[in-house]
């Protein structure tokens, strides 16, 4: 009997499929069977695209049979956050306003994954329009944490993170505007990468805050995350903000070690975190020292102001981006007497509470009389944060911090107090404001036996060093994992 491929990494599966030891169809069927059986409890998928998955797996097998190379992700099951558009398949952003919409085009990243032989299993749950840190803001019900069903998986890409942690797929895509890949990766005990702004095309990513949004991978190992990033990165003429500089080889140097690298622990982001999270960062730092890195504490004073700047800038951009949901060209229309009434009733019915909160906050920050005091001020503080990072990177190659101040909290714990929810992004937000790359790597268990994430930050286009350090953190991490809910 062939052993199950569930639980194998992406690189292993691709190798088995390319060498004809297993068919892509079997891999897809095994993963789909697990999803069908266990996801009703977890709610990580909003849509399972069985038929399309089997069809693309068969296409991979046909290539292998003909002696052609199906690509680096040959037969690897992939889950997609449901804010990435997929032609002909519903894309909802977990919002009622897009329920039933079938996009007329496909996101560049999805095309790249398919071209590399990846097999898309379906679309995953998220906080509505990627606004939230727990996936509780989904209008299709919350996703749960696969290590404790009473706790949140983080957000906004909680469905993708939970699906990868639960072994439903070895890889998934998310989007990160203020931490929406890294924070759920930390809370679910997996790897999540937010690349340099512009490294990955945003064509087909439904916009939240365009100057901050970036697509990135989830995986259960640093190497698998690097593999997926390599596939999706690169210039795209359809995204005018995508970088024209080539993408470096992210994998060949990943085991290069950290000898001689200068690593700074950000003092401001250690302050006030949960005790076991703080000790995990100290242990990770010790392990990096033992592997030959020069580790020191560093002050990056302006990161303290990241949260305030972000919660003016991101809602401001969102209020503008979400003006397109007007009930005219696609999505929900609730007809009124006239055009204005149609706008108002469609948006009032279609958007959930967190989205309305942010649209109003952004409308306020941009409104005449308040623009300079709020939005303008936040933009200047954004410059201050960039300068503060720049100073730190004169002395350090990469920086280290917790990914989130606590481990996964209980469902409902922060739902009534938006500000307390926002505070769970305090460590991840500064990176987005700067446009830098950062990633989360699991590092043992903390409070309530839930996973802890170590965040590794790098200057723009510093992915190669970032991944090397991440690999070293992974090698030194405690090899403990709780049982999944279905184990």
């Amino acid at each position: 009997m062939t052993p199950s491929t569930v639980g194998l990494g992406a690189a292993e599966i691709a190798k088995l499929v390319r060498s004809k030891q297993i068919s892509a169809q079997e891999v897809a069927e095994e993963h789909l069977a697990l999803v069908r059986l266990q996801d009703p409890v977890l709610n990580s998928f909003l849509q399972i695209t069985d038929d399309a998955a089997i069809a693309s797996a068969k296409a991979v097998d046909a290539k292998v049979a003909k002696g052609e190379d199906p690509g680096e992700l040959a037969g690897v099951p992939v889950a997609l956050k449901d804010n990435l558009v997929t032609r002909g398949f519903a894309t909802t952003c977990a919002s009622q306003i897009l329920k039933g919409w079938r996009p007329p085009y496909t996101a560049t990243v999805v095309e790249k994954i398919t071209r590399a032989g990846g097999v898309v299993l379906g679309k995953t749950n998220l906080d509505e329009f990627a606004m939230g840190s727990s996936t509780e803001n989904s209008s299709f019900g919350p996703t749960r944490n696969p290590y404790d069903l009473n706790r949140v998986p983080g957000g906004s890409s909680g469905g993708s993170a939970a699906a990868v942690a639960a072994r439903f797929a070895p890889l998934a895509l998310g989007s990160d505007t203020g931490g929406s890949i890294r924070q759920p990766a930390a809370l679910c005990g997996i790897v999540g990468v937010k690349p340099t702004y512009g490294m990955v095309s945003r064509y087909g990513l439904i916009a939240f805050a365009s100057s901050l949004d970036q697509i990135g991978p989830f995986a259960r190992s640093v190497k698998d995350a690097a593999l997926m990033l390599q596939v999706i990165a690169g210039h795209d003429p359809r995204d005018s903000t995508s970088l024209e500089s080539g993408v470096p080889d992210l994998l060949s140097d990943i085991d290069g070690g950290v000898e001689g690298l200068r690593i700074g622990i950000i003092e401001e982001l250690i302050d006030g975190v949960a005790p076991m999270v703080g000790s995990a960062i100290a242990e990770a730092a010790n392990s990096l020292s033992a592997q030959g890195a020069k580790v020191e504490y560093v002050s990056v004073p302006a990161v303290r102001y990241g949260l305030s700047a972000y919660y003016l800038i991101a809602p401001a951009e969102a209020s503008s981006n979400l003006a397109r949901y007007d009930g005219v060209r696609y999505g929900l229309r609730v007809a009124g007497q006239d055009m204005n009434e149609t706008y108002i009733s469609s948006r009032t019915k279609g958007f959930g509470p967190e989205v309305k909160r942010r649209i109003m906050l952004g409308t306020f920050a941009l409104s005449s009389g308040y623009y300079d005091a709020y939005y303008g001020k936040a933009q200047k503080v954004r410059t201050m944060i960039i300068n503060s990072f720049q100073k730190a990177y004169e002395r350090f190659d990469v920086l280290l911090s917790p990914t989130a101040p606590t481990t996964a909290f209980e469902l409902g714990a922060k739902a009534a107090d938006p500000l307390s929810m926002y505070l769970s992004d305090v460590c991840t937000i500064p990176t987005n404001l700067a446009g830098h790359p950062a990633m989360s790597v699991p590092y043992g268990l903390g409070e309530n036996e839930m996973p802890i994430g170590v965040q590794i930050l790098a200057p723009a286009l510093g992915e190669v060093n970032m991944l090397r350090v991440a690999r070293a953190v992974e090698k030194g991490s405690p090899l403990i994992r709780r049982k999944l809910f279905w184990e």
């Binding site: 903000t241 003016l312 009930g327 007809a335 009124g336 009733s345 909160r357 409104s367 001020k377 500000l419």
Partner: protein, 88 residues
Amino acid sequence: MANLAKLALSEEEELMYTGQLAAILDHARDIMALDTADLSPTAHPLELRNVFRRDVETPSLDRDEVMSQAPAAEEGRFMVPRILGEAP
């Protein structure tokens, strides 16, 4: 604000949002005190330049497919409620 954002709120919601938005803006007061006189604002992490494409024909979205997703359409056009009054 709700009106500017084309949203309708119940009295209950108005009360809830007013309190929550006040708390968020109150938290943002920490940056109001910062001296930023010498800093220029950052709107975007990259130095943006105008990007032009070559002036050649490329395929665009399929019109029928796009229109099939509209809440109301007729003859390849989006239908909306009357926006102008009757002619006098």
